[in-house]
């Protein structure tokens, strides 16, 4: 069993901080380095797309289900994509079972906003018939093991799930006034356009580090998550009791675009596109 607790001892805290001041982290990483990502796609047979993503010891399984429903009145020709997250009680003694708490809602919301504002999901392609029928996609994330930085792992997990998706293609039957299935599939190729990545930094005193692990997360005064596409920042979330200087935010914006490019190239998520026709 890993040593998981709500509070870090003074000794451990001082050890983490004194190392950080020398530019070292307790797991040997540099300040701007991710733990290793491990990605498997389409592992769940019952889901229309899925991903099993590990970031170090943090592990999240995400699956996609769909429903056909009526569009929102103000967006009559657009489908809907919602993100939900659940911090399973298997994942950590810190998680309790029961309705979603603040932390799981924040995880879902930050990942959702990263996707929503980046032109990632092509909601117009998810329309079967204007005002009548659109796809409603549910991207549901389940945390299997918690070892810090759920948001970045969740972002990659949700993205891989959408890329690996294969949803039965429906067309509108005007006479019967209902959706019919063509036997073909809509895949990630049609549904996904931009690939937004979310990068989370922790702040301890005046030191900023990428991808905080669990002990680092417990020591951090606060965190900031920045979602980026190829050349734009699409969403920012500051959380926790830290304050950031304006210069720090400017640096982080720059850093995020640079690190995002590296991540995009390194993970090459488009390799997980579904091959179903």
């Amino acid at each position: 069993m890993m040593d998981v607790k709500r509070i870090v001892s003074k000794i451990e805290r001082d050890y983490i901080i004194s190392n950080l001041k020398k530019g070292e982290r307790i797991d040997g990483r540099g300040l701007w380095e991710y733990r290793e990502f491990q990605i498997e796609s389409d592992t769940i047979a019952s889901a229309e797309g899925s991903a099993d993503v590990s970031l170090g010891d943090t592990r999240i399984i995400t699956g996609l289900k769909y429903e056909v429903g009526e569009p929102f009145p103000d967006l009559p020709d657009e489908g809907v994509c919602t993100v939900m997250a659940e911090l399973l009680p298997i994942a950590s003694p810190l998680f309790e079972r029961g309705p979603p708490d603040e932390q799981s809602i924040e995880l879902a919301r930050v990942v959702d906003r990263g996707i929503r504002h980046a032109d990632c999901v092509q909601t117009k392609k998810l329309c079967i018939k204007e005002k009548e029928a659109v796809y409603i996609l549910f991207v549901d994330m389940y945390v299997i093991n918690y070892a810090g930085n759920l948001i970045d792992a969740g972002g990659v997990s949700a993205l891989t799930t959408l890329i690996s998706s294969h949803i039965p293609e429906g067309i509108w039957n005007e006479e019967k006034h209902e959706t019919e299935w063509t036997g073909k599939y809509l895949t990630g190729k049609t549904i996904v356009n931009e690939l937004p990545f979310v990068l989370t930094y922790g702040k301890i005193e005046d030191i900023i580090l990428l991808d905080p692990s669990l002990p680092e997360e417990l020591v951090c005064d606060g965190k900031i998550s920045i979602s980026v596409t190829e050349d734009k920042i699409t969403s920012i979330q500051k959380s926790g009791a830290a304050t950031f200087t304006i210069d720090e935010i400017k640096t982080l914006g720059n850093k995020s675009l640079e690190l995002g490019k590296k991540l995009r190239k390194g993970l090459n998520l488009l390799q997980y596109l579904s091959e179903i026709k």
């Binding site: 769940i44 047979a45 019952s46 229309e48 996609l64 289900k65 549910f138």
Partner: protein
């Protein structure tokens, strides 16, 4: 991958060559894979793939009971929580636990409790969380099997393991290990579990119709299959200790490597 047309049951559950739809014989199990220690944060954990079923189980305990009034002064309590992921079934399951999940939690809990020495742990609780990520028939049996394995992985004293399987009748023939479609379209379904320390039955449910002779045959069929499953459980546990042994036998190299990294 899901079917495009919903709830369409095949007319026949056997192919022309006499095999079942997934190519199995009447007394053949689906492929089963088990692994322990998959969740590092948990006191004990196990992962099971049984056909298309994919299930995680994790154990936390003995630990303080929360809420406190559930604690018993003379013995520990066992609590099992069985949950299914929203995407584990054909139609998205609602995220909140339903009646079915609560019933199965109770069934599994009652099945496992005889194995534990709860009287040795007064005032504490053991919590077993079972998360079904992908479901394809027989999840209550698979969950029982994997929960027992997670408890063993946690090093909690147990009288023995317990193994479970569903036997049933499809197209008039008796088969073991019903798949999702066989479960829905078949005539009878009998989940059954055996605790190995006394070789007695600890879980038993039945829906369908059978005569006395059939019941006897079902029980014999189940026992043979359960022996196979028990062996897979034991092998998974043994693999963990073999791996541990191998790791402790070569500590030198590893330390050097760590320094370099």
């Amino acid at each position: 991958m899901p079917l495009i047309i919903k709830d369409e049951y095949p007319e026949m559950l056997f192919r022309k060559d006499g095999k079942r739809l997934d190519g199995r014989d009447v007394n053949e199990l689906r492929p089963i894979k088990m692994e322990v220690g998959v969740i590092k944060n948990a006191d004990g954990s196990a992962y099971l793939e049984w056909g298309n079923n994919k299930i995680f189980a994790a154990v936390y305990g003995p630990r303080e009971v929360h809420p406190h009034h559930l604690a018993k002064p003379d013995k520990g309590i066992l609590r099992v929580f069985y949950r299914m992921a929203t995407f584990s079934v054909f139609d998205r399951k609602r995220p909140a636990p339903g009646r079915r999940e609560k019933e199965i939690s109770m069934i599994v809990s009652d099945c496992i409790e005889p194995l534990l020495f709860l009287e040795l742990y007064p005032g504490t609780s053991f919590e077993v969380f079972i998360e079904v990520m992908d479901a394809d028939g027989g999840t209550r049996c698979a969950s029982t099997t994997v929960a027992a394995l997670a408890l063993a992985d946690a090093g909690i004293p147990m009288k023995s393991l317990v193994s479970a399987i569903a036997v049933g009748k499809i197209d008039g023939k008796k088969v073991i290990d019903l798949s999702g479609i066989e479960d829905k379209a078949g005539e009878a379904d009998l989940p059954i579990a055996i605790t190995w320390y006394n070789e007695e039955i600890s879980l038993l449910q039945f829906d369908g119709d059978m005569d006395l002779e059939e019941m006897n045959e079902f029980l014999d069929l189940a026992k043979d299959a359960l022996k196979e499953i028990h062996q897979i459980q034991l092998d998974a546990l043994k693999r963990k200790y073999i791996k541990l042994q191998e790791e402790t036998n070569k500590p030198k190299e590893k330390n050097d490597k760590k320094g370099e990294e």
